[in-house]
């Protein structure tokens, strides 16, 4: 026997052994990396009404409670959610066929009625949005759902990073003084995207 066949044999044995070990090692390593990684989430908040204020703040506060790193990028009407006082956020049932119009008071049969008010009527009554907002706020209270200011405070307390979109701040004529001081960063899409790229979960609300 010469040296050449031996080398071929050794190579074959090494290859076989590596095929056996590598998948297992890789799995172990990946599991270890997954266990050591803090999950992260970025949310783009684009809506400025009372109803749409809930999803970003609920998801952000819950993720923070689960130990995740969370950042919310507020852009366009979402900037309303960063204003110092958000108790004036409103809801509009106009052109929103998905919104049940129910009364938050009275006997159960009355609360169960879905008031089908035509768009034309809604649009024609002055103060209809304010009226609908008052009813919504009462419904929120009745159901033990968090007040939106409270939910935002809980997010801030839990270390959720709130970022303002500078372009829309300028577009709508806001200044940084209009917003809560906890907003440390104002930036644009180019700064947000790399953050979203690294995140495990990215949501557009």
């Amino acid at each position: 026997m010469g040296a050449t066949p031996d080398i071929a044999l050794i190579e074959e044995i090494v290859r076989q052994r590596l095929d056996e070990i590598l998948p297992q090692k890789l799995e172990e390593k990946l599991a270890e990396m997954k266990a050591n990684k803090t999950p992260s989430m970025t949310i783009i908040a684009t809506k400025g009404t009372l109803d749409w204020a809930y999803p970003p703040f609920i998801l952000a506060s819950t993720a923070a409670a689960l130990g995740w790193n969370v950042a919310i990028f507020f852009t366009f009407y979402g900037l309303q959610l960063l204003r110092k006082d958000i108790s004036g956020l409103k809801i509009s049932p106009l052109g929103n066929p998905g919104m049940p119009m129910k009364m938050p008071f009275g006997p159960d049969w009355f609360k169960g009625i879905n008031w089908n008010i035509p768009n034309l009527v809604q649009a024609g009554i002055p103060g209809f949005e304010s009226f609908a907002t008052t009813l919504m706020q009462q419904t929120i209270k009745n159901n033990g759902v968090a007040d939106i200011s409270e939910l935002r405070s809980l997010c801030l307390e839990a270390g959720v990073n709130m970022i303002g979109c500078q372009m829309t701040v300028d577009l709508f004529g806001f200044t940084h003084e209009d917003f809560i001081p906890e907003v440390k960063e104002y930036c644009g899409a180019a700064s947000f995207l790399p953050m979203a790229q690294e995140a495990d979960v990215t949501l557009f609300v």
């Binding site: 819950t62 409670a65 033990g144 759902v145 968090a146 839990a158």
Partner: protein, 75 residues
């Protein structure tokens, strides 16, 4: 079951029971037990998921009189 701290989450809705529980656990020592009472039906699955994700142990959960009682052992 013995417990070190109690959280009354009755009348609160998602995600408040979880947020309050998280806050309560933060002030506790490892191994201590938190008792939580809630009325939110969704909180049953939420507390299971919360414990699985955070590594705190869900010792038990009971249901009665439209109330849910959870015992959580802090990690």
């Amino acid at each position: 079951m013995n417990f070190d701290k109690e959280l009354d989450a009755r009348g609160l809705n998602c995600p408040l029971p979880i947020l309050r529980a998280k806050k309560a656990l933060t002030d506790m020592q490892s191994g201590q037990v938190l008792r939580i009472v809630s009325t939110d039906v969704g909180s049953v699955k939420d507390f299971q998921a919360f414990c699985k994700q955070t590594g705190n142990e869900l010792l038990s959960q009971q249901e009665g009189n439209n109330e849910f009682t959870f015992f959580l052992k802090r990690k």
